[in-house]
């Protein structure tokens, strides 16, 4: 890739990733959310992978990192759902808001997202989905980049 691209792409991809973070964190009251924000973060990562290649990529995502973050995203989603099952009797019940008044107040305080909208666990679900999607979409491209052309395999 050209030198101009190599100079510009990392700063641009960091800005794209920040835009993805903003989209994830505003997902409970605006269009967007976990999937869209995660896809934006993944687009920043993919931008770097395509321009710098896998060897020189400054955004160095290792196998362990990707597997850990994707697992944390999935586990966070399931644990939030199970918390609703334990404290309110139904999976993914919004125990941060508690519209049915069945959750103790101290548990409700723990799971309420700290902002003026009182969205409960919805932003946390967005964050979990965002992490999972960001890594999941990046993994696809990184895996395709690691494939060798058929001619090279035959020569080896």
């Amino acid at each position: 890739m050209s030198t101009i691209l190599k100079i510009l792409v990392l700063p641009l991809s960091l800005l794209i990733m920040c835009m993805g973070i903003v989209t994830i964190l505003g997902g409970h009251i605006t269009p967007g959310g976990g999937f869209q924000g995660g896809a934006m973060i993944a687009s920043g990562i993919i931008f770097c992978v395509i321009v710098y290649g896998l060897k020189d990529n400054p955004l160095d995502l290792s196998h362990n990192f990707m597997s850990a973050i994707e697992s944390i995203g999935a586990l966070l989603y399931i644990l939030l759902g199970l918390a609703g099952l334990v404290f309110a009797g139904s999976f993914l019940y919004n125990i941060g808001v508690d519209l049915s008044n069945i959750v103790p107040a101290n548990i409700q305080c723990i799971f309420n997202y700290p902002d003026i909208t009182y969205a409960g666990i919805i932003p946390y679900l967005n964050i979990a989905v965002g992490l999972k999607v960001a890594i999941g979409l990046s993994v696809i491209v990184i895996t395709f980049m690691q494939f060798k052309p058929h001619n090279k395999i035959e020569n080896e």
């Binding site: 835009m19 995502l61 964050i127």
Partner: protein, 81 residues
């Protein structure tokens, strides 16, 4: 009232991805700390252009955006090699 949600979680998500920014010594691609300071200043301008998102009125700029870039730079400084 300051909305702590986007400030805390913007920093955390940014920190997670910032830890993976590693400039390799054998590579000819160099991004010193001064370039990250420039990225931070540009991101402040972008956050100011976005405005208080989404519908918050505690700050004149997108707090999630600013804390996201702060988290990325902090992650790079702490764990990025």
């Amino acid at each position: 009232m300051l909305n702590l949600g986007p400030i805390i979680f913007g920093f955390l998500i940014g920190f997670i991805f910032g830890t993976r920014i590693k400039t390799k010594p054998e590579s000819n691609i160099k991004f010193p700390l001064s370039s990250f300071m420039l990225i931070f200043l540009v991101s402040l301008f972008v956050a100011w252009q976005i405005g208080p998102y989404p519908y918050y009125a505690d700050m004149p700029l997108a707090s999630g955006f600013v804390t996201g870039i702060i988290g990325i730079i902090a992650g790079k400084l702490v764990w990025g090699r």
